[in-house]
Subunit: 332 residues, 2 copies
């Protein structure tokens, strides 16, 4: 039975299951030039929350009563397109449907022998590339410097810390549980790790973890966690604004300390980005990440949720930090 | 009679006259290798407010019961140093004293025939260089883009708008009186000008002045004026955080809308700086500014206050926007 997942309501605040609808649909007709594809893995990502709002952004909002979409790994089950064969695994941005057709545009083949298929949605996909380009291009990391990473146990943050380590930085990670803090140190090689949920004074905790001050701050979280980090930045610090998951469900404009005086005083930079800005360099980035993986210099963590129907819940769980590393749904 | 101006109290909020003390002192003894110098012009600048606080910053705080200091133009009245002659005009960072000695270190000669002496504290000095390097290096202005400048009638802002015009941008200036708004358009060639004091909705006013959105924002002011501009930035916008005069007298940490989501959504950059970061390139900058001045492509405005003793009041008046262009004190 074929199914799709639609956006039913635009959430006010934190998304809930009732904002989605799972609908049974017919299996599509395959036309010449098309392929029939079956979802294997679905990526759920914090940035999708922005697309659920009806507002101008770098990407079109989702439409009500139409399928959500994100990065999927799919299997070709039938092909009427010479570029693809039955059994090929592909990835690309696709609607949340179990079975669908495609003309193959903007889909690229992935190799199940080189890495687990789910890795193409994480360490070898958008989140790995996000970590790589944000850190290296905007962060300009230099050996001996100190980096702080928020959301450090997440899909992006866990990779940032490891690349920073490869580049010779001291790494301080921030996460939301003792279990994650332990993982930061033991699995991802962070030098210091802070549990923001049990820390009263973030500024003090960062000062203790980074006594020489913060040269690079890779921010996935925003909000009060960031306030504590910004209180410790050095002259010429670079703040990489990758995401602000702590703010995505706010219903009113979130407020906080003004950053202008901090930036002026420290000749510091804050810069936002999306990974698509680096589209021309994706192949280079994937090659570098794959090399580090093979050399065992990068480890990755995944939280794999089973079942196509559980995609909405997996997405919602991101906002409670229930994932370690990349959150993906295994559709069957 | 020789005099000096000391910092008497660290101000809480807006500085007042009683935070300063004017003290009569002896004329100094001139030793070998030294010059005797007499203050001609004293620069008063918003950034000095930061040095009156007892806090770590890019520059040492002023000490209580010691003289304030800033950029001065001085005249050599006696010389026991072969590098300087009686009658030379020099500029440099010096204490607020009518008459003092110096070994000449970090002072450079200025030419009274090339430009009025006061200009070396403004358009050919720190504020001109601040406008030039902030705009060209951090702002990366491109022909056809739109720039918004806050504090546009001030010493820095008035120069930024004109350089942006030379570079082919559409310029929108923000200032705090109708008289200044008129000056922005008539003297400094701004395409659009907004009086923030009579504007209810800054975001809407900026949207009307910059209907294609804001590519570059040169911010001298910070605070609510900036909130209105940031609501209108384009993808890949560059915000140059030069100053935040609206916040310098706040006694509590000023708060406002969080900028992280805006930066992420627009792949935008905010970057603070101080002109000293470009010290190695000062001569190039001055040469360019002097050329534009000679070609009549740059105009400048000064507010000249008479009398050494009025230096504290001139400084205080900056925070009420009583200056047009560069505020300087003519000491005699």
């Amino acid at each position: 039975m074929n199914k799709e997942i639609l956006l039913k309501n635009r959430p006010d605040g934190k998304p809930s299951i009732s904002d989605f609808e799972i609908r049974e649909i017919d299996e599509p007709q395959l036309n010449d030039g098309e392929i029939l594809i079956e979802a294997q893995y679905i990526s759920v990502d914090p940035y999708l929350r922005g697309r659920m709002k009806d507002q101008k952004s770098y990407i079109e909002p989702f439409k009500l009563d139409e399928p959500m979409s994100s990065a999927l790994v799919v299997k070709v089950t039938q092909s009427k397109n010479d570029s693809f064969s039955e059994g090929d695994f592909l990835m690309g941005n696709l609607p949340w449907k179990k079975i669908q057709t495609s003309n193959g545009e903007n889909l690229r083949k992935v190799d199940a022998n080189q890495a687990p298929l789910s890795a193409y949605l994480g360490i070898l996909g958008m989140t790995g590339l996000t970590a790589y380009f944000g850190l290296t291009d905007i962060g300009e990391p230099k050996e001996g410097e100190t980096i702080v990473v928020s959301g450090a146990a997440g899909a992006v943050g866990s990779v940032v810390g490891q690349i920073a380590k490869i580049k010779g930085l001291k790494t301080v990670g921030i996460a939301g549980s003792d279990e994650k803090v332990q993982m930061l140190k033991e699995k991802f090689g962070y030098d210091e790790a802070v549990n923001y949920k049990t820390t009263q004074d973030m500024a003090k905790a960062i000062n203790e973890g980074a006594p020489n001050g913060v040269d690079v701050y890779f921010d996935n979280v925003g909000g009060e966690v960031s306030d504590g980090v910004l209180a410790n930045i050095n002259h010429f610090a670079r703040v990489i604004n990758c995401g602000a998951i702590s703010l995505y469900n706010e219903t009113e404009m979130p407020t906080g300390p003004r950053v202008e005086p901090i930036l002026v005083k420290n000749s510091a930079k804050m810069q936002g980005f999306i990974v698509r800005n680096y589209q021309d360099q994706f192949q280079d980035g994937i090659k570098q990440l794959a090399t580090w993986l093979q050399e065992d210099k990068l480890k990755f963590e995944e939280t794999i949720v089973e079942g196509f129907e559980n995609t909405p819940q997996a997405f919602i769980d991101l906002f409670d930090g229930k994932n370690k590393g990349k959150m993906v749904v295994k559709t069957s």
